[in-house]
Symmetry: C2
Subunit: 370 residues, 2 copies
Amino acid sequence: MRPPAQVGQPLEEVDTPALVLELDAFERNLRALAGAVKGRKVRVRAHAKTHKCPEIAKRQIAAGAIGVCCQKVSEAEAMVEAGIADVLVTNEVVGAPKLERLAALAKRARIGVCADDAGNVRDLEAAAARAGAALDVYIELEVGMRRCGVAPEEPALALAHEIAGCRHLRFAGLQAYQGRAQHLRAMSERRAAIDAAAVAARTTRELIEQAGIRCPVVTGAGSGTFMLEIESGAWDEIQPGSYIFMDADYARNEWVAPLPRFEHSLFVLATVMSRPGAGLAVVDAGLKASSVDSGMPTVWQRPGLACTRMSDEHGCLEIGPGAAVPRLGEKLLLVPGHCDPTVNLYDWYVCVRGGVVEAIWPITARGAVY
Amino acid sequence: MRPPAQVGQPLEEVDTPALVLELDAFERNLRALAGAVKGRKVRVRAHAKTHKCPEIAKRQIAAGAIGVCCQKVSEAEAMVEAGIADVLVTNEVVGAPKLERLAALAKRARIGVCADDAGNVRDLEAAAARAGAALDVYIELEVGMRRCGVAPEEPALALAHEIAGCRHLRFAGLQAYQGRAQHLRAMSERRAAIDAAAVAARTTRELIEQAGIRCPVVTGAGSGTFMLEIESGAWDEIQPGSYIFMDADYARNEWVAPLPRFEHSLFVLATVMSRPGAGLAVVDAGLKASSVDSGMPTVWQRPGLACTRMSDEHGCLEIGPGAAVPRLGEKLLLVPGHCDPTVNLYDWYVCVRGGVVEAIWPITARGAVY
């Protein structure tokens, strides 16, 4: 797909739907995270699953991140290819072809991966041995997410023994990500969830170290909670992803100290393509332009306009009483409900500053699902 | 993105997640539609928004379709580029750059477009005049979908006059698509909705023809209702799209005569990447591999396994009592909840027959949203 814009073009001339990144807000978000962790004994490993874009990864590293996380081997390949030197796949990697690719990548960069199964650890060891590579392996700990991961304490210790016994694997520590906590609306709920995860991470680490196995790093945390992980003292590394964009779902959280303020920087630019009645405007962005798994997009800076439903190629905006009525052909900015799967629909970020296109960044790992 | 498979490979060796098309079932679906409309006074214009793939469009035309529909100019461009000679954009096209591209396309193929606004008709005329092209223009009629379209009868007549007065536009008829009817579960509800739409289409056409304007075609209908439109006699052309694939949402419809039986032919192949507990298996396909706007995918031919939630890169399968327990590394086929936005996540169809990859078809118009 060709880019929907050209550098130097005014925003209002950009073809739609387009994924727009407001650079000023994006850069303020980078600085807000750097400011929040300044002086704290924690390192930032930004999550590239959100943006899938080496241009953004490089800016996160320039702002202090030690490297990136990915969820898929193919994402990690895109990052290493672009010169990112330190990548953690915060996920299990299963199956011989993927393990071979992962091990090959570890010859070109520092590569970490998660495991929650002894058989998978042996497969990782075999792949690393064949490639003559060394892999960092983290135990994924189940800390309340009810997805992957082993239970804290004894099951994790057993797996740590397995990893520590492998010649080509380095036991790197614990992946302790409480994903369900990220969107608990009240800060008090998020704090309770992270406090519980911290206990699990800390007791498991102690048990492993008491067994004589060094457990160098506890990593985890997302944009909705990372300051809570930092304050607990149980994490050495945080993995925020969405903070650079702030989607409509995150904006529904109670967003207070100790978290810094992040701003919406990611938008879907859409055109009003039909005005079928007094109360309705239809835009040219639907399910293929904005993911709705976490709710409809909101309409940016247009009070009284609400996106109430989307079909494949249409978004229906209800026009509330007193709202400024959008005219046919008018362009509106939507704030996506969920940034990660929305980004994955596009090939390009149209990067805008002061209403003018400043750059076009390829979403290199778009569709990198395997 | 490179293809996740090679021709000749067994299905179980295909990298995951992958979008799999079972060719036998797909071809039976093509034949089922052809059989259902055989001898009926109606033509088929298959909807390419579903598949975005010229290889599939060509097979639909070989099975009797007179051409395809698209929703976006960029989709139409992909189809014309691949040699499809007759394309109807079943949607309003708004804004000078898109109108220019649409008019340019009409120099290379027969191109139709919908309109629901007089100002837009004048813009279409101006673009066609500048290009020296002729465009078929259909009035989009609001027949119960509550999206785009003008109201039946007088408002449609006024717009027909506008179109008929344009030198470079051919008034081609009415676009009357009752999208909301497609997923009404009971056949009786669908029939009531289509009966009402038929009245609107018929009275509007009569009014326009009484005014001395020929109204050659009424087009519309989807996979969930098309035989009802045919039986009503009010439509000359049908636009089914999903019938080739059948997704999990369509399968929840009461699926009885006069509709033919279609089969699931589209699947997401996924790998079990974690078995964190007795009742749960986690696969490597999440929101970026299967759209959930119309519900979770179902697990193909594995009774007792239910996909109950998905996150960006994970699908959680609950293992019911008595279900065969999937092992780590096992591959499963998921039936997507909604085929159109799921297809739009992938670059390739992995086409399989008898458990072996027979072809890889590019999803040429993937991401063609503008």
